[in-house]
């Protein structure tokens, strides 16, 4: 390495470390606020170090909102949508990627065209439709409309095309396996890494969604975590440390899920963007 190159590398790391500091500071600050008392936060100069009131603040959150109820509701919705999306999307992707059938290209083009439609366009009529079904306020409103999606099918199809060898499918056919059996024995095992990405992606999106649950979960005793957190802020907004304790509690499980598969998740996401 020449001195000039070494200097460039060092400058690069300094820039990156500064960026990391900006990227992570709000999390640190969330912990600082959640672990101090509100008067301490409001003092000038403010407290910049982690305090000792974290559990006290968390306790206040649990006293004021049904935190675990909301978390359970959000968990049920996220897991249900994820499982359904993984099944329906991979099944459809398997059919699109590996089989010839009349109208296949047209139907796939139709599926791609649905990408263009922004979710907000159908916000009002979707709400009206679900109201007709009597689903407003129920978990069905959170789970069923999102049980299969164009993005996942598109993404899994790209994955399946390259990953599943045609010979394996022919071999399964010779063995007398029907389509669904071929999906189970040949498709699913090969698609597993792709499913891991789509699963994490879906889970995070449902867990963090705010606008849709805000509109459809009208029963104040059955709110998703994000809406409950927003409400905690709306009612007890002046008690910063309690609100931040709530924010921290809502964020930790998700970051946990993300960190489990972070490495390959990020790589898969970038690879997916390159395919567009």
């Amino acid at each position: 390495m020449t001195p000039a190159e070494r200097l460039r590398t060092t400058v690069g790391h300094v820039v990156l470390m500064l960026g990391v500091a900006v990227s992570l500071f709000p999390f640190y600050w969330m912990v600082v606020m959640a672990s101090n008392t509100t008067p301490d936060i409001f003092a000038y100069p403010p407290k910049l170090l982690i305090g000792s009131h974290l559990f006290e603040n968390m306790g206040k959150v649990l006293d004021n909102v049904d935190f675990f109820g909301s978390m359970l509701l959000t968990l049920i919705a996220s897991v249900s949508v994820t499982v359904l999306v993984l099944f329906f999307d991979s099944l459809a992707a398997f059919a699109f990627a590996k089989y010839e059938f009349p109208g296949r290209n047209f139907l796939f083009g139709l599926l791609l065209a649905t990408f263009m439609i922004p979710a907000q366009l159908s916000l009002v009529p979707q709400f009206v439709t679900l109201a007709e079904f009597g689903w407003i306020g129920s978990l069905k409103a959170l789970i069923i409309p999102g049980a299969a999606n164009a993005f996942g099918i598109f993404w899994m199809r790209q994955y399946a095309k390259g990953a599943i060898p045609d010979e394996l499918i022919s071999a399964a056919k010779v063995d007398g396996a029907g389509f669904f059996r071929q999906y189970l024995t040949v498709g699913l095992p090969v698609l597993r890494p792709g499913l891991a990405f789509l699963g994490i992606f879906t889970f995070i999106n449902v867990w963090n969604d705010y606008l849709w649950p805000l509109i459809v979960m009208t029963d104040p005793n059955r709110l998703t975590l994000q809406v409950a957190l927003d409400q905690l802020n709306g009612i007890y907004g002046t008690d910063y440390s309690m609100v931040m304790a709530g924010a921290l509690m809502s964020v930790i499980p998700l970051i946990g899920v993300f960190l489990i598969g972070a490495r390959s998740f990020i790589a898969d996401l970038a690879a997916g963007a390159m395919k567009f």
């Binding site: 790391h13 409001f42 139907l107 439709t129 049980a147 299969a148 164009a150 389509f179 994000q226």
Partner: protein, 337 residues
């Protein structure tokens, strides 16, 4: 018409008789069943609501009582509604304030990541975490940082001898606060996408530039940026679509007050206005009309992006993009039949 129609039909018949199976459609039943969940759900929760929303937008309706047909009145009111134009203006300003620094910073970070050989996994995860964290929680943290009286930012400004800024009451302060949250959440995401684009550029090109004596800056502007065009287009289109739909940041910062989006409606976005009209004021017809205006804006801006970054010189399109374009044309032709 009759002539053109008979030819494909006979061709299809011949094809069918040539292949032995009695009915290709019936034979493909499992495949149709496999793809049907998406299409059924889309028909019920996508296509039908969208058609229905055209119908709703021609009515005055509170969501419960009788629908009153008003023709194009919602749309003509929309075009003359100063609040709607303010919402568009706010959204545009927030979008520019967030997208420009976001993409520039992402490019710088991606470049540094590309050259870094150590701590790569750590960097990627650290940069990506903001994007997977809930907007609500993030907005609460930033709301406290930007707080007028007790915020960290004002405490910092005071400590270096500058005065306080009323971030959450001034029109520009509000927009800067929202744009900061958006930028913070999406810089890392876009950097990761840019990085993938950088890694796809063959090392030979850089080797050749080095041999020709190009400076790092020349290499960056003459090779890296042009070769990244498809990736830049992707990030520009997704940031535009996302930017036009900003809602949560403003809603969590300011709640359901009379002025949605803070004092003077300064943080009211298009989606905030849609949400307020439909779900707070129960003007469903008007909400549906705003939804259509938003859709038109998104299509318009996507076309502009495509033209500016990806378009006009077709030889620059990658072969993949060309193939996709061809496929699209083929699909359109198929649909026209």
């Amino acid at each position: 018409m009759a002539v053109t129609k008979t030819i494909p039909v006979t061709a299809a018949v011949r094809e069918e008789t040539a292949e032995k199976p009695p009915n290709r459609f019936r034979q493909a039943f499992p495949q149709y069943a496999a793809i049907s969940p998406f299409f059924i759900l889309f028909a019920v929760f996508g296509a039908f609501p969208i058609l229905f929303s055209i119908w709703i937008s021609f009515h005055s309706w509170d969501g419960i009582g009788a629908m009153k047909f008003v023709g194009f009145e919602q749309y003509s009111y929309l075009l003359g509604d100063p609040k709607f134009w303010q919402a568009i203006g706010n959204t545009m300003i927030i979008w520019v304030l967030s997208t420009v620094p976001m993409l520039l910073l992402a490019l710088v970070i991606a470049n540094a990541l590309h050259n870094a050989t150590r701590f790569r996994t750590f960097y990627r995860i650290a940069y990506f975490i903001p994007n997977v964290t809930s907007v609500v929680a993030v907005t609460l943290v930033f709301g406290s940082i930007f707080s007028n009286n007790f915020g960290l930012l004002n405490a910092f400004l005071q400590s270096i001898g500058l005065g306080k800024v009323e971030w959450l009451t001034q029109p520009w302060g509000i927009k800067i606060a929202i744009a900061t949250i958006v930028t913070w959440r999406w810089v890392g995401y876009n950097a990761i996408i840019f990085l993938a684009g950088l890694q796809a550029i063959s090392a030979d090109v850089y080797e050749a530039a080095k041999v020709d004596g190009a400076s790092p800056r020349q290499t960056f502007w003459r090779i890296t940026v042009p070769m990244l065009r498809p990736v830049i287009l992707f990030t520009a289109v997704t940031s535009t679509i996302g930017g036009l739909q900003i809602f949560t940041e403003s809603r969590v910062l300011f709640g359901d007050t009379n002025n949605i989006g803070g004092p003077g409606d300064a943080g009211m976005t298009i989606v905030s206005y849609l949400y307020q009209s439909a779900f707070i004021k129960n003007q469903f017809g008007y909400g549906a009309a705003i939804g259509w205006a938003l859709f038109i804006l998104i299509v318009l801006f996507s076309i502009i992006n495509w033209r500016l970054i990806g378009g006009n010189d077709s030889e620059r399109l990658t072969s993949r993009a060309k193939r996709r374009a061809d496929r699209k044309i083929a699909v359109q032709k198929g649909a026209a039949k």
